[in-house]
Each structure stands twice: as C-alpha cells, then as structure tokens.
C-alpha cells in the first residue's frame, strides 16, 4: 500500500513537472519558446512562497501552478518553522528596500569636500522624479565643528572689515561737506561776533555804562529829594 502511494505521488509530481509555467515581465522579452521554462525566473510555488508572494512588490507576477494537497508529508511544526523563516526573510528584504530608498534620496555629507557622489544611474530616465538634495553636516565631529567655526569667524571678520571700509568710504564722501558746513557756520558766527563787537563798541565800556547809569540814578535821587 505504501509503495502504491509513493508510486502515485511520484507519477503525479512528474506529470505536474511536465507542465510549464512562466513569468510575465514588462522588462524582459523571452525570445525562446514560450512553452519553454526560463530557468532564471522559475520559482517553485509552495504554500510558504504563496504567503510571501502576496507582499512582494516586485514586478514579477507569479503564476501559481496547480497544487495538490500534500498528504501528511509536512507537519504543522515544519510549516510554522517555514513561515517564520519566510517572515524573517521578508522583513529583512523590507529593511534592505527601505535602506536602498534612503540611499537613493540622501547624500551623506561626511565633511568638507567629501560628499557622496550622486547616483546618476537613474538620471537618464526622464520620468524619474527629481529629488531635493540635502547635505548633512556632522557637527558632533570636533574637527568639522572647529573648521566651521574658523571659517565663520574669518568670514565675519572679513565682513566687518568690508563694512568698516564702506563706513570709511561713506565718511570720506560726507566729511568734507560737514567740515565745509561747520566752517560756513563758523564764518557766519564770526561775522555775527564782529557785528556784536561793533555794537558793543558803540555802546561803550560795560563798566563805564554801569557807572553812567548809577550816575543818572544819583542825579535823579538828588532832584527827587
């Protein structure tokens, strides 16, 4: 009975293996016989791979071959173990994919003049969306930070120097006018002073004038007595 069963299984498997299945792909054109199996794309679909295939986003379309139920050759523990392995593998692939995506969108800036080269492989494709370039500066690195600081300080000093020159240049243009204005005002004031001096001279000596006023006051007092 056992022999008969084994025989039957083998025959079934052989019969199934004779059937061909292929993958449809948009990227490749199979130039051989369409009934011929492509060894690079052939994948045996099992129950485990079926689970994985549902989440696989590669462009490959899997065509499931007709499966025949196994008859007690795979235990539940084996199935669970296989499922765990497949899950682990799926997660690993997902992480790798995420890492690839990040690499595609990010340039790693490791310091001055040592950024990663762009991945130009995809630039030829016009449909590809242009990504925003972001540079990352590692300020936790003391050397980098010191360099940055030094450059910043030098630039600030240069800027101050330039601004100082601008101020000087502006002053050089403005100062003669101010000096001329001050001299003009001084001349006006001196002229005014001369005029005042003439007035003062015409009025006489301050003490004499005071004396004269007092004298008139005394005369007035004498007459009023």
């Amino acid at each position: 009975m056992m022999d008969e069963n084994k025989q039957e299984i083998r025959q079934t498997e052989e019969q199934e293996n004779k059937k061909t299945f292929s993958r449809d792909t948009s990227r490749h054109t199979w130039i051989g016989d369409k009934n011929e199996i492509r060894p690079d794309l052939e994948r045996t679909v099992t129950r485990m791979t079926q689970v994985i295939a549902e989440t696989d986003d590669r462009s490959t379309r899997l065509v499931e071959k007709q499966r025949k139920a196994y008859k007690g050759f795979i235990t539940d523990e084996e199935v669970k173990s296989a499922e765990d392995r497949a899950e682990t593998e799926r997660r690993k692939r997902a992480e790798e994919k995420a890492a690839r995506l990040e690499m595609a969108q990010t340039r790693v800036y490791t310091g001055f003049g040592s950024g990663l080269d762009d991945d130009t492989s995809g630039k030829a494709e016009p449909q590809k969306k242009r990504t925003r370039k972001v540079y990352s500066i590692n300020v936790s690195d003391r050397k980098v930070r010191n360099r940055l600081l030094a450059v910043a300080v030098i630039l600030v000093l240069m800027l101050v120097f330039d601004i100082g020159y601008l101020f000087l240049n502006h002053s050089v243009k403005v100062l003669p006018g101010r000096t001329e204005e001050a001299q003009k005002e001084t001349a006006e004031m001196i002229a005014e002073t001369e005029e005042l001096q003439q007035k003062a001279d015409a009025l006489g000596d301050y003490d004499q004038l005071k004396e004269l006023r007092d004298s008139w006051q005394r005369l007035k007092d004498q007459l009023e007595e």
């Binding site: 972001v134 540079y135 590692n138 240069m158 120097f161 240049n169 004269l212 006023r213």
Partner: protein
C-alpha cells in the same frame, strides 16, 4: 532650510541654502580682496578729514561761546543803555520841574549848568576825567573851527573824541562849524549862520553815529548877532534848534594875562551867591579852568548845587 538632529549631531542643509552660503562667502571674500589695497589710503584720508572736521567744529564751538558771551554782554549793555536813556529823561523832567519850583520859590535846590565852549581839545579828555571823578555832567559846545584834528594834539582826529563826551552822559551842543564871528562871518547873514549850524550838526552826527545837537550857542553869544538875532532865532526855531547864552562868565577867555584859576573861581563863586540856577561859561582849551574846576565843583556842591547837563526843556534854554 537647515535643521539640527540633536541625536545624531548632524545639521541638514538643503543644496540651495548651501549654495547661497557659498555665494555670500565668495562675495565677502571678493569684497575683501577689493577693499584691502584701498583701505589704508581711505583710512588716512578719513583721519585727515576727521581732523579737519574736529578743528572746524572746535572753532565753531569757540565762536559760538564767544558769540554767546558777547551777545549776553551786548544785551546787558543795551539794557543799561536803555536804563540810562530812561533815567536821563526822568532827570530832565525832574530838572525842569525843579527849575520851575526854584523860580517860584517852592524849592531851595540850586542848579548849575557847566558849559565848555570851543571843543574838542585834547584837554577835553582831562575835563571828562575830572567830571567823572566828581560825578558831574556838563555841556560841551563843539565847533570845527580848529580843523579836523585836535588843536592841542594833532595826531588825534576831532571826530574820534566826540563819542567820549556822550559816553559820560554829557550834552554836546552846537557852536557852529566855523565859529567865525568876525565881519563877513556868521552874523553877516542868517543863511551863513544856519549853514554853519547845519555843518556842525552834520559833523557831529557823523562823529557820533547820529547824535542830534539840539542846543546852539552863538559864538560870542547872542549879542554878536546884533540886528539879525531875531531872524536867526526864527531860523533856528524852524529847524528845531534851541539856543542858550550864559548867566555867569568864568572869565577864562578874558586873556592869558588875566585869566587864572583863582580869578575863574572867584568869578563863578561870587556869581553863585546871586543865582540859584546858573549857566556858567567855560572854555575847553583853558588850562586855568581845568585847574580851578575841582574847587568850583566842591564849593558849589557844598552850597547845594546840583550839576546838570543842559537840555532843551530847561528854562535856561531859549526856544
């Protein structure tokens, strides 16, 4: 723009920001490269200009300070001058009232008008100093008969001393320009007299900056005008002038052999016994007068005389 990841110690900077920063840095560097060779020259020029400005500003400040001090002084002096004018006006009003009271016997005050003719002379300065010392105000009847220069000091122009008389509060009277009372002189014609008066007025006005001589003294006195006195007086009146003679002749012009200080003093003091209001005739050129004047002033003041300059409102002045 740019953000810091604290956990990783990285700053993420977008390409545009980085490019802009690079551009700014390049601009600063380029500007510095442009500025460096010119900086020293510009700075030197700036310092020179700054020094000029500071000098100009300090001169301006000094001028301002001087101006302010002088303006204050002029303001104060102007105020005092106004006070003097106001007080002199009040004094003349009071003097006119006192004269009236004296003539009516209502006041026992006495007034002496000291007048000095024929100036200006260098000796006039001595009289001014004396009057200043004795606090006396007098009247100086000026003429230009002696020329444009002082007769007793030829290096001093006559016009230059006129302001001195006014400075001490004295009155300047008009003694005619020519002082020529000989035949064919002032009194030969009314017009000639008036012309001499106007010429002297012009001279005084120029010398003093606008002083108007309001009182005229006839050279030799009104008696010299003879029959033309009335006509001359009319002309003077028409022109707004007043005139005055004297009530006491000091005798200082009677001749060098007779005029001396004691005679002058005697003449004046003896006359004062009879006059409560007197106009005394002196001459500015007279050395004996200068000598006698202190005693005359002291004595008259001791007798109660008040020394006043003549004024048009005085009853001693003819109008």
């Amino acid at each position: 723009m740019a953000e810091t990841e604290r956990s990783t110690g990285r700053i993420k900077v977008s390409g545009k920001v980085l490019a802009a920063a690079a551009l700014i840095a390049c601009a600063i560097i380029a500007a510095t490269v442009f500025v460096v060779p010119k900086f020293a020259g510009t700075f030197k020029e700036y310092r020179a200009l700054r020094a000029d400005l500071k000098k100009a500003q300090s001169e301006q400040a000094a001028a301002e300070k001087s101006n302010a001090a002088l303006a204050q002084s002029v303001k104060e002096m102007t105020r005092m001058k106004t006070d003097c004018e106001k007080l002199s006006s009040q004094v003349f009003e009071l003097a006119a009232k006192t004269e009236k009271d004296i003539t009516e016997g209502k006041s026992n005050k006495k007034i002496c008008y000291i007048t000095l003719d024929d100036g200006p002379y260098r000796r006039g300065q001595d009289f001014l100093e004396l009057f200043r010392k004795y606090d006396v105000k007098a009247t100086f009847f000026m003429t230009t008969a002696n020329g444009d220069m002082l007769p007793d000091q030829a290096d001093i122009s006559a016009s230059s001393v006129y302001p001195d008389y006014l400075r001490f509060g004295h009155t300047i009277g008009n003694h005619t320009y020519s002082h020529d009372y000989g035949s064919g002189g002032l009194y030969s014609d009314t017009g000639a007299f008036m012309q001499a008066v106007e010429e002297q007025q012009d001279f005084t006005e120029k010398a003093t900056g606008g002083y108007k001589t309001q009182i005229v003294r006839f050279p030799g006195g009104t008696g010299m005008a003879g029959s033309r006195l009335g006509a001359i007086e009319d002309s003077l009146r028409e022109e707004g002038y007043t005139w005055v003679d004297w009530t006491v002749d000091s005798g200082d012009s009677w001749g060098s052999d007779t005029a001396n200080a004691s005679l002058i003093k005697s003449n004046v003091l003896s006359a004062s016994k009879e006059q409560d209001i007197m106009v005394v005739l002196f001459h500015e050129w007279s050395e004996p007068t200068l000598e006698a004047m202190p005693d005359i002033i002291d004595t008259l003041r001791g007798s109660g005389y008040i020394f006043l300059p003549l004024f048009p409102g005085s009853m001693m002045v003819s109008k």
